[in-house]
């Protein structure tokens, strides 16, 4: 009986010990990331760092990114976050992490030595986790994350397929694009593919044209509730999708296609144009090393405002405020984003480095196409740097509405009405 009681006590102790915050030996930095294609490089860099400093960095990969994102939220709730991690979520959730005291303010470290660390990194990449004075999230102004790479989303064209259709140069305007798509259709080549089964990509494409048609101020005014989605400019944005559908530009089944399948289609010469991010260079190379392709900005539909593409920090890490190894973690991130390590990172992963000097050096060793992607950074923007963001519920209805337009179920007008209904409901709730 006594033995049985002791056994039960041991079991309970075991159960509760499993729920407690695992203590780690000091000088061992724990890093959780989601970047499958970068894992080997992170491991290599961690070994290098240990050789140089004697500090061990335990790199752990948790993929895919959706699961990682949820795991970070669960770890935050259970107070078991690692020393270094990433927050793959909207800026408002990043703000919630900061307000909950889970993210270290790195401003002092970034600005030390006349801002040496901050100045070494691309400003647009830093902006991803920077909060300005008087921001709408109520977060103390500062820099809260370290960008590891930069990325942007542009259009790709398959040189072989364009040549086959007799198209000498890639289109520069929307009308030229539609004309080329019709030529491609005539010779039996699918004009355009993208992974629009993943709604963020649809949202990104629509956002490019929203900037082009109405400019940033009107977009932000809509998010604030000052302009309605039923405004003719928003109908124009959605009409782009209706037009792409009507002119036979889109690949069959685009609305349920995952980006991996879309990447496969483009890499295997099944579509002449694609819409994808700069990480695709690595992906296409793995799928078809002989793929001959170029990069172009999405062709503008209007001359009213410049077309903006999404870009900036590809991946950012933050430091856990409660970490016993906070200073070591910051020192490691400083080392990781230094020129030498960033060049190695770019060479190994074909990603654009976040370090300015490293980019210049890396462009000599990485595929030239990445250099073309890097030029698009000048025209990049991203929801994380906007002064205001739309409610995710509205975005969901908007993106699903685009899907409905593509499959011919709804008109742009019907979709903007649906979106505005949800927006009105949320605004009423907020007030």
């Amino acid at each position: 009986m006594r033995k049985l009681g002791a056994l039960c006590c041991c079991l309970m102790l075991f159960v509760f010990a499993g729920c407690s915050n695992p203590s780690r030996p000091s000088h061992k930095i724990l890093l959780w990331h989601w970047m499958t294609d970068c894992n080997d490089t992170f491991l290599k860099l961690a070994q290098e760092y240990q050789k140089e400093t004697g500090i061990e960095v335990d790199v752990r990969l948790f993929a895919p990114s959706d699961s990682y994102s949820q795991m970070i939220i669960a770890a935050a709730q259970a107070n078991v976050l690692p020393d270094i991690y990433g927050i793959l979520n909207t800026k408002s959730i990043v703000a919630d992490f900061i307000k909950a005291g889970l993210v270290t303010d790195l401003t002092r470290d970034m600005n030390a030595d006349d801002g040496a660390w901050a100045n070494s990194l691309f400003d647009k990449a830093l902006a991803d986790k920077r909060f300005e004075e008087g921001n709408i999230y109520g977060v103390k102004a500062g820099i809260y994350g370290v960008p590891i790479d930069v990325t942007d989303e542009q259009m790709l064209y398959n040189k072989k397929l364009l040549a086959k259709a007799g198209i000498a140069t890639p289109p520069r305007t929307y009308d030229e694009f539609i004309k080329d798509a019709q030529i491609l259709n005539r010779v039996g080549i699918t004009p355009f593919v993208s992974g629009w089964g993943e709604l963020w990509l649809v949202d990104c494409f629509a956002s490019n044209y929203a900037f082009n048609i109405m400019g940033p101020e009107k977009i932000f005014a809509t998010y604030r509730g000052q302009v309605k989605y039923t405004d003719p400019d928003w109908i124009k944005v959605l009409s782009v999708f209706a037009d792409l559908r009507d002119k036979g530009v889109l690949i069959d089944g685009i609305v349920t296609k995952g980006n991996k399948y879309a990447e496969q289609d483009f890499a295997l010469d099944r579509a002449a144009f694609a819409f994808n991010g700069s990480w695709c260079v690595n992906v296409y190379h793995d799928m078809n090393p002989n793929l001959d392709y170029g990069v172009m900005l999405p062709p503008p539909v209007s001359t009213a405002y410049p077309l903006k593409i999404w870009g900036g920090a590809g991946s950012s890490f933050v430091v856990n405020t409660g970490s016993p190894n906070k200073d070591e973690a910051i020192a490691f991130l400083k080392w990781l984003t230094a020129q030498k390590q960033q060049v190695l990172f770019a060479r190994q992963t074909n990603n654009l480095p976040s370090n300015k000097e490293a980019l210049k050096e890396a462009l000599r060793v990485v595929p030239p196409i990445l250099g073309k992607f890097s030029k698009g950074m000048d025209q990049s923007t991203h929801p994380t740097v906007w002064p205001v963001n739309e409610d995710p519920l509205v975005i969901d209805v908007f993106d699903k509405g685009i899907q409905a337009i593509i499959i011919g179920e709804k008109t742009p007008l019907e979709v903007v009405r649906d979106v505005q209904t949800v927006k009105d409901r949320l605004m009423a709730k907020r007030n």
């Binding site: 079991l11 159960v15 089964g197 069959d252 349920t256 995710p392």
Partner: protein, 304 residues
Amino acid sequence: MDQKAKAAAIVKDNLQNFFFVLPAFVIFCVFYIYPFLNMVFLSFHEWHGIGPMHFIGLRNYKELVGDNLWWDSVGHAGYITLIALTFQNALAFALALACDRQIRMKRFYSIVFFIPPVLSEVVVGLLWNWILNPEMQNGAHIGFLNHLLFTSGFPQLVHNWLGDPKTALTTIAIVHSWKGFGWGFLMLLAGLQTIDKQLYDAARVDGAGAWKIFTNVTIPMILPVILVVMVLTILGSMQVFILVLSMVNEGLVNHTDVPVIRILSSMTVTNRFGYACAQAVIFGVVLVCVSFIMKKLSDRVKQV
């Protein structure tokens, strides 16, 4: 032994028994009861996952009652379940009946029919994505099904199966049935093999034909197994979601949404943890109701 010693022995015996079940009880409480109660608690709050929770009473439930997308998704799961109950189980029963007879290579068939259920839903989704691919390259269909239809002289049947709202959900339901029929097949085959063969002999002596034997011997004897298979089919089909995700990603507008995907979407897309919990509670209630109805039906059938 006096009364006092007897009572002490009973208490000791009970305590001993209690200690034996204590580990299981603790694990059940920690991993089932606590999360469940916590979920119910969260369903009365508005919460983004991080930061403060705001108590909003029954507002999430009130919103859920008027959420057409949610009830549509329940309807979609019901449709998939209906197809599974009919098509999947009819197929499983027919194959089990065939394998119960003295046919050649019946062990081989049993193994082959059990391959789809042991495959992961992601693998099944990827496989069927290739089969159903609507694209063309160099004038030829990439997807196996459309290629087969085209080359067999049925070009008019070539279709974008997952991209058309009219066919997407049915296609998913059929793939789900293809993946799931093996479980039913195995259980029904095991049930058929337990029927005493003398019953068939006796029926034959009484002059019963194949149909009479089937309706008056096979069906009544296997009815309890059929009911178990039906309950498991309902619970499994109502909760389907991995297959849907792997076949149509975030969905064909909302035409392929099922309840678990709506719950996931509330958590991961719109960061509404409280609302997601309310959806989960309501969905749990729906499943309990369905199981209860099936139990009542099963009891009534057994009495008959």
